[in-house]
Symmetry: C2
Subunit: 361 residues, 2 copies
Amino acid sequence: MFTSNQVVAAPIIVGRRHLIATSNRVTALLVNAGNANCATGQPGIDACKQSCVAVAEQFHCVFDEVFPSSTGIIGVPLPAEKLIAAVPAAKAALGDSEQHADAFATAILTTDTKLKVARASLEIGDRTVSLFGCCKGAGMIGPQVVPHATMLVYLFTDLAACPEHLQAMLAKAVDASFNCISVDGDMSTNDTVLLLASGKSEVPAEGESVPAFEAALQEVCDSLAHQIVDDGEGVTHVITLKITGAEGDSDARDIARSIANSPLCKTAWSSADPNWGRLLAAAGKAGVKFDPARVTITIGGLPVFAHGVRDVAYDEGATHAAMQAREYTIAMDLGRGHGQARFVTCDLTHEYVSINADYSS
Amino acid sequence: MFTSNQVVAAPIIVGRRHLIATSNRVTALLVNAGNANCATGQPGIDACKQSCVAVAEQFHCVFDEVFPSSTGIIGVPLPAEKLIAAVPAAKAALGDSEQHADAFATAILTTDTKLKVARASLEIGDRTVSLFGCCKGAGMIGPQVVPHATMLVYLFTDLAACPEHLQAMLAKAVDASFNCISVDGDMSTNDTVLLLASGKSEVPAEGESVPAFEAALQEVCDSLAHQIVDDGEGVTHVITLKITGAEGDSDARDIARSIANSPLCKTAWSSADPNWGRLLAAAGKAGVKFDPARVTITIGGLPVFAHGVRDVAYDEGATHAAMQAREYTIAMDLGRGHGQARFVTCDLTHEYVSINADYSS
């Protein structure tokens, strides 16, 4: 799954072509951090292809079985020669241990401060299916994968499944995880989520293995998505928005996203300020019809708003104290229908401004 | 014209009713700053009405000829008794000089740091038509008046025009001014733009006076809208976005708004960082189709991006220098059609975070 941004980087263009050409067979991933290879025109496409060719030669595969990803600054020509020169060392360092997986997960980080990995294993009959996921992403996070912003996610499993089935399972897992997070609401030109299945476990994706794998995939995606927000640029609070009682799920998600990306809500969260009027105002500009008199809001489980006014049980001091936790939930029920959404977001701090105002990031 | 937020304050509900009841006749404005009287339920409506009644008694008019506005914190009961107690002094201080007008414009300010007024006068035949406008608003500015965020705008003229004609002229002027600015993209529950015409000039709104008045109204609205952004919370740079070559004007405006409200663009502007990739990425997430290869971008008149890549004439140092000006224009041509938009916005700074993270603002 790729970014839905109208402007896409060269590796997205090349990667899409490669997946089509090989019917979704991937032998090697080539990821670079520091340069997004976006808005680099035909030279960017050429540089991407040249580096894929270099990898294919080392790995004895056809060059379109190499899947490229880039993350970093936009608009600067990609120095393909640097990537090509590094390929032999990267190949020599390959291995199949947990440490090797972590080394890959570490190499792809940019403004991230933490390693982001998640693992799951399933016992299916007398066999074990493994799933390993890792990702990078701290800013420009507002994915719509069709998803979000430079977020690179790689999922590896030894399940035996066809690409179409993997795609369908991935779409479902991504929609409820990576498409329901934001750091700043900005969507990258390079977002990619890739699920690769080797089939080595010899467990086919049928019968009981399907729901078991789907659950594990969701768990790994949820964990990685949460890790991205938790490590978001300048983040000091992680907020889970639970919107219920909407006419439909998409209404609920629109309201969640409007709150998640509201600078006024995000700055209030940074100082544990229970300024719940900003939640209402942000919900009200989402383009979704609702009656404020039927809305209820709780923060960290504490009653805040009901019957169109401040809840009679509202306790500003207690709410402020609850918001000092690094993580808490804000729940808003619209009192209309059964639509709901769960969205994970964060506060907006001085540190976010510092990181992104650094000339030239 | 009022906010299009789903959540609206008591004075908006009461003000709308009053305009209907009186067929748009207004005798007195009652504006308070510090309390938005929003999410205050029926007690908020009652408090608003009580204060209108108190004003009507002083001004010897029916109470629905009093037009109320409030701006300030959401969700705190309005202390009507304070407003009511202040009415006699407010009445005693009334007058018709320029100083009196400025005193009104000063009284409505909240986080604003500057007085925001604009004046125009027209010679029509041997008569003079005057127009005075003032407004407040520095944060929660992302109006859609239907418009934007707590922005209160009052326009006074002595033109002789019927309410329907005034409404039509106002809608046009607001669409190209207040609906094309943002500070933080947040939309208030209290936004109001009111145009009052006394008819005292005895110049009717017909013939040559119509285009002349429309031009003056546009000029005054443009000036006030610009003053709001210029005095936006924490603003150090005012950016005019000129989007051209879109399929239609609404596409151009969607792209302008996406750039204007992108935290990554806004933080880059704060440090005069010519990180134009962020402009492209923000344009690309606006939900508007375009071909990046046909896009051209200039910053402060300097070439930045063309033919899908960094412009050959791009000079990072010169662009950085141009962006150190307090005001400059970023122009983006999409190379598709004749749609265009002009949008005035600003940077996102530490100071914005400080102002809005102040517990409890």
